[in-house]
């Protein structure tokens, strides 16, 4: 019985994915999107991947980390160097770049995993923050990454013309993280968050699963970085500073710790919102902050619960279902 329910949910999710994808492709092919919106498609996907993967360490493992952009930059540079040095068709070199970017980023996930095993809470947040900045300065000083000048003329394998590809990667990421949470590995991760002493007592190797969570999260952040580089075409070390890490963390917190759906929705809203506010000019960041605060308050208040459980909402939901 439970299996059937899961399958039903899966079919519903797949239906949503197909509809969203078809709608966007329709708009793209019909040239119905403004340039502004078209340029947002890939950044939305990138932020969804980043938020969902950060949710694994912050929401499910329960460790506050501020270095996610560090993994992203490692992936971005690795991926860009792969496609710049390989002269193969996109269909071959882009997957290689994605996998390489993900793997090198997850290697850094292992490295950051070491302090993760020793530190908790605010201490860990500060160490991961420093970790991101260290990566930035390493990239800044290396020859292969072209220092502060950064890389340019990266082939645009990941721009809106290949939206289908990027969309597919985004869906894969969402499913992978969702699947992991509902697996024995994910349960081990969540048990550590809820009570690590009890987790140890039932035989969970706490160190192993903490590192595993960081490695998996870093892998997908690396992939997001590869897409980023191949969408913009240029990379600079400063793109991936702690502001970016905090931006992703804000998405995760706003969407709800440990809620994958929430991360996806918050990533979409918080990527589009600043662009929508562009017309407000100098008030842009002010309005952005106000909306952010309003959304936070809404999210944590009883109002949301009341709306969700109110008669009208339930009726609406019902009629929508019947229709």
């Amino acid at each position: 019985m439970k299996n059937k329910q899961i399958d039903k949910q899966l079919i519903k999710n797949l239906a949503i994915i197909v509809i969203v994808f078809a709608a966007i492709e329709f708009l793209l092919y019909g040239d119905l999107l403004t340039r502004q919106f078209r340029s947002l498609l890939i950044p939305v996907c990138i932020n969804v991947i980043l938020a969902v993967s950060l949710n694994l360490t912050t929401g499910f493992l329960g460790e506050l980390t501020l270095g996610h952009a560090g993994f992203m930059s490692v992936g971005a540079y690795t991926g860009a160097l792969v496609t710049m040095n390989l002269n193969l068709p996109m269909i071959i070199e882009f997957p290689i770049a994605l996998i390489a970017g993900g793997l090198v980023a997850s290697l850094f996930g292992v490295i950051i995993g070491v302090p993760v095993l020793r530190l908790r809470g605010d201490y860990l947040a500060i160490v991961t923050l420093a970790f991101g900045e260290i990566i930035k300065s390493i990239i800044n000083s290396l020859k292969i990454t072209n220092g502060a000048m950064g890389l340019s003329n990266i082939e645009l394998h990941g721009n809106y013309k290949n939206f289908g590809y990027v969309f597919f990667l985004t869906v894969i990421t969402i499913f992978a993280i969702k699947n992991m949470v509902n697996s024995r590995q994910g349960r081990a991760v969540c048990s550590i968050r809820d009570n690590y002493i009890a987790a140890e007592a039932v035989g969970i190797n706490v160190s192993k699963f903490k590192v595993m969570a960081f490695v998996v999260a870093a892998f997908f952040a690396g992939i997001a970085g590869v897409i980023y580089g191949h969408n913009v075409g240029t990379l600079k070390p400063t793109t991936f500073d702690y502001n970016k890490s905090i931006e992703i963390l804000v998405i995760v917190v706003l969407g709800g710790m440990g809620s994958i759906k929430g991360s996806v929705i918050a990533a979409i809203i918080l990527t589009i919102l600043p662009e929508m506010l562009r017309s407000a000019d100098e008030f842009r960041m002010f309005l952005y902050a106000v909306v952010l605060i309003a959304m936070m308050i809404f999210n944590s208040s009883q109002i949301k619960q009341r709306i969700l459980s109110s008669d009208i909402f339930l009726k609406l939901k019902k009629t929508k279902k019947e229709a």
């Binding site: 697996s183 590995q185 969540c190 968050r193 809820d194 007592a201 039932v202 998996v216």
Partner: protein
């Protein structure tokens, strides 16, 4: 050979000698009680047996193999499971998942299977669900399977801790005040359950308890701990009529 053999176990916290020269031998299948006044060091003994604390002295042998120096997860895998005096459930996880976490080492599939839900995933998860529900059923908790553990009533939380410990398939089960906070009816039921699981799962149980009705009702042997040292050991009738025990612990 006895299942558990503890010799000269001791631990100091700074200047405080919390447990000193503690000895206990538990035969396989026994239901053993560890009693004593507040602060006597009972929970500390459990923490040493499960690797939470590293003893300063002494040896712990389970089925002849040494446990001292192993970490809690390794000790669990060698066959010692426990519950906690201050309940430690996985509060944001469901009752079913609390038990399934404890099945982690017995049912295996790779991370790739977990990420993709392919390969052994479906079959293994189905088997885990079945096993977890079987264990919950022993405690009459099957219908709570989908609830969050933190939403359970107190008595049920205590039972879930025992269920979770049992799911690790232990040889030795340590229960730290399993009846704490339970009413007399719940305690009576718990006594039956403890006896039942000992027989059904063929395990050995060492329990800490202040409820004398439970202790005399189910324990076959007792050790009394006082100020970190062993006061006496023996059958309940002998121990509870010992004048030293009466003055140190039972009062009146």
């Amino acid at each position: 050979m006895a299942l558990l053999e503890v010799k000269n176990l001791g631990i100091s916290f700074g200047g405080l000698r919390a447990v000193d020269d503690f000895n206990i031998t538990i035969e396989k299948g026994c239901l053993y009680g560890l009693i004593g006044p507040n602060g006597a060091g009972k929970t500390t003994v459990f923490n040493m047996l499960t690797g939470v604390y590293l003893p300063t002295d002494g040896s712990i042998l389970l089925d002849g193999t040494n446990l001292v120096g192993k970490n809690p997860a390794q000790i669990c895998q060698s066959g010692v499971a426990r519950t906690f005096q201050n309940i430690r459930l996985f509060g944001k996880m469901t009752v079913l998942d609390n038990v399934k976490v404890a099945l982690h080492n017995e049912y295996n599939y790779s991370l790739a299977s977990g990420l993709l839900h392919l390969g052994k995933y479906k079959k293994t998860e189905a088997a885990m669900d079945q096993r977890a529900l079987e264990i919950l059923d022993v405690f009459g908790m099957k219908e709570y399977a989908g609830l969050l553990a933190s939403n359970l009533p107190y008595g049920e939380q205590r039972k879930l801790e025992i269920a979770r410990a049992l799911a690790t398939n232990p040889k030795l089960l340590l229960l730290d005040e399993p009846a704490a906070g339970m009413n007399p009816n719940e305690t009576a039921e718990l006594m039956d359950t403890i006896r039942f699981i000992r027989n059904k799962f063929e395990i050995t149980i060492l329990l800490i308890e202040h409820d004398m009705k439970l202790v005399t009702g189910i324990c076959e042997k007792l050790t009394v701990l006082n100020f970190g040292t062993e006061l006496t050991t023996g059958t309940p009738e002998v121990v509870l009529n010992d004048p030293e025990v009466i003055t140190a612990y039972l009062g009146e």
